[in-house]
Symmetry: C2
Subunit: 231 residues, 2 copies
């Protein structure tokens, strides 16, 4: 942190197509990082999210964008991939049914694989411990444990070049994230946060994710550019 980095360093940036990861990608690019955007197709209902990720990677200056497929082989367990579980429209206590099993662990592990191939120094992920909705794998202690594991997992790590897990949003409120993104030129109308967006990416305005997002724009006193399905 004391010396400016003279050569571009590489990082894998997890980009879901949502508001948070778009901001993370903008932050990484603004810091001079050569950003390799990575998205996952794990059978999520909201397919528009993946299209948004592709657009955002291009517009925000990622060096490259890949979408990896994960076939969970029907193990289920989440409303996001299991159509037999309803998407909740009320905030619930505890861990929500929209939880994807071991989600961030799976995503970070695949990112670690790409980081290893690229000889990348870091993986950026838009986890957030403030508005984190009860997900255990969004907490700082989890991220630290993943980084410790990663340092022992790969050849680079063993040779002292362990990958860093960068979580620039971890202590920011949704309103702060929105303000940062706007300052960095992120067009949030391109992002899709809704758990049940339609094919064109328009949001339902009712699910947990929509409510959290809308409240963020209100608190930030920034006009909400989200395209809603009605109203």
């Amino acid at each position: 942190m004391n010396e400016p980095v003279s050569t571009a360093s590489r990082a894998v940036v997890l980009v879901s197509g949502g508001l948070d990861s778009a901001t993370v990608l903008a932050m990484a690019v603004a810091s001079g990082i050569e950003a390799y955007a990575l998205s996952f197709d794990y059978g999520q209902r909201h397919r528009a999210e993946l299209a948004a990720a592709t657009t955002l990677a291009r517009c925000l200056g990622a060096k490259e964008h890949r979408t990896m497929g994960i076939d969970f082989a029907g193990i289920g367990g989440s409303a996001l991939t299991d159509v037999s579980i309803d998407i909740p429209e009320q905030a619930s206590s505890g861990i929500p049914v929209t939880y994807v099993p071991a989600r961030n662990t799976v995503f970070l592990s695949l990112a670690l694989g790409w980081a290893e191939v690229l000889d990348a120094e870091a993986i950026y992920i838009g986890v957030n411990a403030v508005d984190y909705s009860g997900y255990p794998d969004c907490r700082p202690e989890y991220i630290e444990a993943f980084q410790n594991m990663a340092a022992l997992a790969t050849k680079a790590g063993v040779e002292g070049q362990a990958v860093r897990i960068e979580t620039p949003l971890i202590n920011m409120s949704k309103a702060e994230i929105i303000r940062s993104g706007v300052e960095l030129g992120v067009d949030f109308s391109l992002t899709v946060s809704c758990y049940q967006a339609d094919d064109t990416g328009r949001a339902c305005g009712r699910c947990d994710s929509c409510r959290l997002r809308r409240a963020g724009f209100e608190t930030a006193q920034i006009p909400d550019p989200t395209l809603y399905q009605s109203g």
Copy 2:
């Protein structure tokens, strides 16, 4: 460890179709565990391995067997040439066709997801620190770090029911693994270790994996039941 478990406990067992993981599955089943066998289709050349995994899961008494697909989106060996502007040409020559970046981390993470859905107590993996000491993700310190991370990653972990990562082979020689498997009734002629097995699973007899396996049978003084392509 002090009280006998009265009800069958569940575990996810990683089964590749090879000799080591077949032995691990037999060990898990013999200990009274309800075993959920998990294999991965990540585009490996030796497809016979996956067919062997299916057969072994059935013959060795797994409760269920799933094969999860992982589409690495071309980040493997070929990606080294795709994004090769800053990567030296000779770097790709040393990457074997079987190379999977961050392999055990990716496999264990997906197993963690299924373990969470199943409410399983453990994940069994046939890593070995004796005959494969060159791989960083086969060492006990790596496994311990993964387990520490997993305890923070999931709902069960947060609630005090963290999954255990079981590595019964970690300190065994290949010959000891073979002897244990034979004692447990594993038919090693069903297993495929060869990196370039033919479609029916017959081994080349020449690759590293074949040589290690053959030497194991010799040391164990057990007739090698492997089906070879010739001789």
